[in-house]
Symmetry: C2
Subunit: 143 residues, 2 copies
């Protein structure tokens, strides 16, 4: 049975993935804390520290992505006072020109509670393991 | 310039790696929070949730490891109130029989402040990328 704080953390976490999939930069800016330090580990990148660097990375990712298919699985939220973190599996389907790539990555998202709202302060996504790579198929999450 | 809280977090983080390298189970038990929920993502494992499961995993790893060479690099501590997290690169050298493997993995460690002490609540180590694999050489961290 999840507590109301866990539910609130899961909601903040889902808002992050909704913004990601929608390539919605305004939503992404609102999700990350504006007062706490923030950091972000994208697969294969050096860790980024600071709101400017983190948001710039998302802007670049969004600008370079036409469409992304992503679902999250096995989502677990843990809460300790004003600290929360979520562990989950990101399942990603990306299309690069005529090729579709399906991959999965474990991720950790850390949140802090600020005036009652859970704000993202750290995202760490491991390097995705490719599950499937093929000519863009007629079907799948991107269609 | 690091704050005194950042210094305290870096000290707790180093104690975790000292316990790891020393294969010291008592130290490991003291480092993980005994009151907050805890979780742990070992490379290639399903995420573990709960103190019993997490400590059992470390006991198993320690029992299955004769000696481990590990150094941490590019260690960054971020603190927001009673929440802290550390991002770093783990450089690992392991010996399996006659073979030595050198690898590196990005890791996130999350801490919460409990009565003035920073306690580990989450460890996420990405799958190491192998940098070098060779017949056990005369030299290196394990010698």
């Amino acid at each position: 049975v999840e507590t109301s704080e866990e539910a609130a953390v899961l909601e903040a976490n889902q808002a992050f993935y909704d913004a990601f999939v929608a390539l919605d930069m305004s939503a992404m800016e609102a999700i990350w804390s504006a007062v706490a330090p923030v950091s972000c580990v994208h697969p294969g990148w050096e860790p980024l520290v600071g709101r400017a660097a983190v948001l710039e990375s998302w802007r670049g990712i969004f600008e370079g992505t036409a469409k992304i298919g992503m679902v999250v699985r096995d989502v677990r939220a843990l809460v300790a006072g004003a600290t929360a973190w979520v562990v989950l599996l990101e399942q990603i389907e990306e299309r690069h020109g005529e090729r579709a790539v399906r991959a999965a990555a474990l991720a950790t998202n850390v949140f802090v509670r600020e005036h009652g709202a859970w704000k993202l302060v750290h995202h760490h996504a491991a390097s995705p393991q490719v599950l499937e790579e093929a000519e863009a198929p007629p079907g799948g999450m991107l269609n």
